[in-house]
Amino acid sequence: MLELGADEYAKYPFMADAGQYLKDKGFPLVKFGTDPDLKPSVEKAFHRLKVSTEGGIYKSELIDGQASKSYILEIEVFSFLLAIVLIKLTGMHTLTKRFALAEARRAEQHLERDLGKASDKSKVDLAIKIIHDLFGIEVIKRDDFFEIPVADYLKHSVSFHEREWKLINRYVKDGKVLLTPEKTVRLIRKELGTYIGSKIINAPTPPMIPGFENMVNELISICKKLTPSYTMTTGEYPPCIKHAIEVLEKGENLPHSGRFMLAAFLLSKGQSVEEIAPLFKNAPDYNQRITLYQLNHLAGTSGSGTQYSCPSCEKLKTQNLCFAIPECDNIINPIQFGKKRI
C-alpha cells in the first residue's frame, strides 16, 4: 500500500484501513458515542451520509486539498471512517451504494485536480500511484496528457456507451491511448465506486455504540423511503418485442436476428426455454428439436456456456427491428423498457 501523508488521507480516506487508523490515533470507537470533543466528527459523518442519500457530495472543509487546521484534517478522515461504522450499524445496502458513489465522485474531483497539477509533481505522482495501486493501470504523464495502454483502456471503456469513448475516437499511438486528466479519472469512475463499496462491505460490523442509536434509526428510516432507482415495472413489453411476437403469431417469417432478440429478451426476463419455445411454433420453418437446441444455446445451458444478452437498441435499429415509441427514450437496451427512473 501507499505511504500517505495526512492531507492525502483527507482527500482519499478510503485508502486507510478504518479500524486500524482510529486505533493508531488512540481513539476507541465507543468514545465517539460519548466524548463531546469528538462529537463534531460524528456529526460530520452523519451529515456526510445524509448528503449522499440525496445524491449530493458534502462540502469538505479542505481548501484546494489542504487542511488549514489539524483538527479539520482529523474531522475529514474520522467522519469518513465513522460513516462506514454508521452504515454497518444500519445494515442498509442502499446506504452503502449511495455513499460509495458520492465518495467516489468526491475522490474523482481530487484525483482530477491532482493529475492536472502541472507544477506539483508529487501530487501528480501520487494520483498516478493511486490509480496504479487500486486499478492496476500503468499511467504515464506526457506533456498535458496521460498515456494508458490500449488494453487497459479497453477493459475500462467497453461498458461506456458514448461514441466518443470508442477507441477509434481516441488518440492512439504506440500501443497507448492519450487522455486528459478528466478523461483518465472518468475511465475509472465505476471502479472507484466499486472499490469504496467493497471496502464498506468488507468492514466488520461493530456492536451498537451507545450514543449512535438515534442517528442509526434516522438513517434507516431515510433508506426505507428511498426506493431503488429503477423500479415499477409496468409489465409492458417494448414495441420491438411486441412486434416480433405479433409477427410470429401471424405465422409470418421473423428473421433470425429477430428471433435471437426475442429469445434473448425473454430469457433475460427470467422465462425458461420451455416457456419460450412454443412462441416459435407458428414460424414457417418451425422445427421443435432445432428450436430447443438453439434456445438452450442462447440460454447458455449448452454449447459455449455463455448466456447471450439481448442486443442493444442501437443494434436493433440497424437490423430494422426497432419500432421506438416515446417511452423508449433514454433506454439503450429493450430490457430497460418500462422501468421508471425515480
Partner: protein, 373 residues
C-alpha cells in the same frame, strides 16, 4: 464426395503429412491448446489436447484428417467441454479473405455447380441447364484477389505496429490455404482481452464508428485549427492523406468540409471505412474460443497448405503453397476456367479425361471440379 475421390485425397494428404511434417508449426504452449480435426465426409472432432510434436504427428498419421485446427486460446484443461476449459488468454488473430473484398474480378473466376443437376458453369445466378438457383459457388482466386488481400494485410500490419505498438516480428502472416491470409499477433498487451474489447479493436482497425469531433469537426462553430495535420500519427494522419490528398490542398479542403457541415462530414467518415479501414472479418477476431486451421496443414477446400509467408510482397500461393506430389493421375475434369499451379497452366477442361500431376488433380477435386476416373 465419392469414395474414390476420398480415397485419393486421403492417400495424398497422408503422404503430405509424412513428407512435410516440418512445415507444421506446433504452437507454443502446445499442451494448453485445444486441437480439432475433420475427416473427409464427416464431422468435426474437437476438444483434443496434445502434448507435443510427436503426439500431433501420431494424430495426423492415424486419422488422415481433411483439416486440422488449433485454438488461439490457452486453457488449463483444453480437452474438457467449452465451459470447463478455464480460458487463460488468446493470441490476437485476423482473417482477411478475398471473398469479402467485393472485387470486380471475382465474377470472372467464380464457377457455380448446380445442386440439382450437377451442371458446372460460369453463370453465377442460376443454372444454365435447369435454371435452378441452388448453386454451390467455387472461386479460383486470381492474382488481383491475392494482391488485394496482401494490401489489406499491410494496412493491418501498419496499424498494429504504429498505433498498437506491436513488434514487427510478433506479427506472423499465413496464407490461409484458400482465398486469403491469417494474421497472428503474439506477445501483445491484448492477450487477455475478452470478446467485447477485441471487437473494439476491430472497429478501430476497420475505421468504424468515427465521429466528426475526433477529426476536428464540431457541430457549432467549427475551428480550423482542430482539423488533422498532414503528418499526424494514427487515423488523423491517415485521414489527412486520404481526404486532403496533398499538404498543399489541406487549407482548401478544410474550408470545403466546414462549409458542407457536420452531417456531411459524418458521411465522409462513414465512406472512408471502405477506403482506409483494413478489411478484416471482425467475427474471427472477436471469437476467443475458436479453433483455427493449423499452420502448415492442408486446406481441404484447395489442397493447398496454410503456409507461413516470409516475404509477403513476393509471396505467390500458387507456387509456394502447393506441396502435393507430382505423380500423374487420371481425372475427369470439368473446370471451365484456366488456373496456374507450380508455374504450370491447367485447363480449361470441359468434362474430359486428362492425365495431370497430383497437386493439380487434388486442387480440382477439392473444389469439386474433377473426379478420379
Amino acid at each position: 464426395m465419392q469414395e474414390n475421390n476420398i480415397k485419393f485425397l486421403e492417400d495424398t494428404f497422408k503422404k503430405y503429412y509424412f513428407d512435410h511434417f516440418d512445415l507444421i508449426r506446433v504452437p507454443n504452449r502446445t499442451s494448453e491448446r485445444e486441437f480439432g480435426f475433420q475427416k473427409f465426409n464427416s464431422g468435426m472432432t474437437r476438444h483434443i489436447s496434445i502434448k507435443d510434436d510427436k503426439e500431433l504427428h501420431l494424430l495426423l498419421m492415424k486419422n488422415t484428417p481433411s483439416d486440422v485446427y488449433c485454438s488461439n486460446a490457452c486453457y488449463s484443461f483444453p480437452n474438457l467441454p467449452m465451459n470447463e476449459k478455464d480460458w487463460k488468454e488468446a493470441d490476437l488473430i485476423f482473417d482477411i479473405d478475398a471473398k469479402d473484398l467485393n472485387l470486380e474480378c471475382r465474377k470472372d473466376h467464380t464457377i457455380s455447380k448446380c445442386n440439382e443437376c450437377n451442371e458446372i458453369s460460369t453463370n453465377v445466378n442460376n443454372c444454365s441447364k435447369c435454371n435452378s438457383i441452388k448453386l454451390e459457388k467455387k472461386s479460383l482466386p486470381c492474382k488481383n484477389c491475392i494482391n488485394s488481400s496482401k494490401n489489406e494485410v499491410s494496412k493491418l500490419s501498419n496499424i498494429l505496429i504504429e498505433d498498437f505498438g506491436v513488434q514487427q516480428n510478433d506479427i506472423h502472416v499465413y496464407f490461409s490455404g484458400n482465398e486469403g491470409f491469417h494474421v497472428y499477433v503474439y506477445n501483445s498487451q491484448f492477450q487477455q482481452l475478452g470478446s467485447k474489447e477485441r471487437s473494439e479493436l476491430t472497429d478501430y482497425i476497420m475505421f468504424h464508428g468515427a465521429i466528426p469531433e475526433t477529426f476536428g469537426m464540431k457541430k457549432i462553430k467549427p475551428n480550423r485549427s482542430t482539423f488533422p495535420d498532414f503528418d499526424e500519427k494514427g487515423w488523423r494522419g491517415r485521414f489527412s492523406k486520404e481526404v486532403y490528398g496533398a499538404k498543399s490542398k489541406r487549407s482548401k479542403i478544410i474550408t470545403e468540409l466546414i462549409v458542407n457541415g457536420y452531417s456531411s462530414f459524418q458521411k465522409t467518415l462513414d465512406n472512408l471505412s471502405d477506403k482506409i479501414g483494413a478489411k478484416i472479418d471482425p467475427n474471427v477476431t472477436m471469437d476467443i474460443h475458436r479453433i483455427f486451421r493449423l499452420p502448415g496443414s492442408l486446406n481441404s477446400k484447395s489442397g493447398l497448405t496454410k503456409v507461413f509467408c516470409t516475404d509477403l510482397t513476393k509471396f505467390d500461393p500458387y507456387i509456394e503453397a502447393s506441396f502435393l506430389n507430382e505423380k500423374l493421375v487420371e481425372v475427369i475434369a470439368n473446370c471451365p476456367i484456366r488456373f496456374n499451379l507450380k508455374n504450370t497452366k491447367f485447363g480449361p477442361y470441359f468434362n474430359e479425361k486428362v492425365s495431370i500431376p497430383t497437386f493439380a488433380a487434388a486442387y480440382m477435386i477439392c473444389k469439386k471440379l474433377a473426379t478420379i476416373s
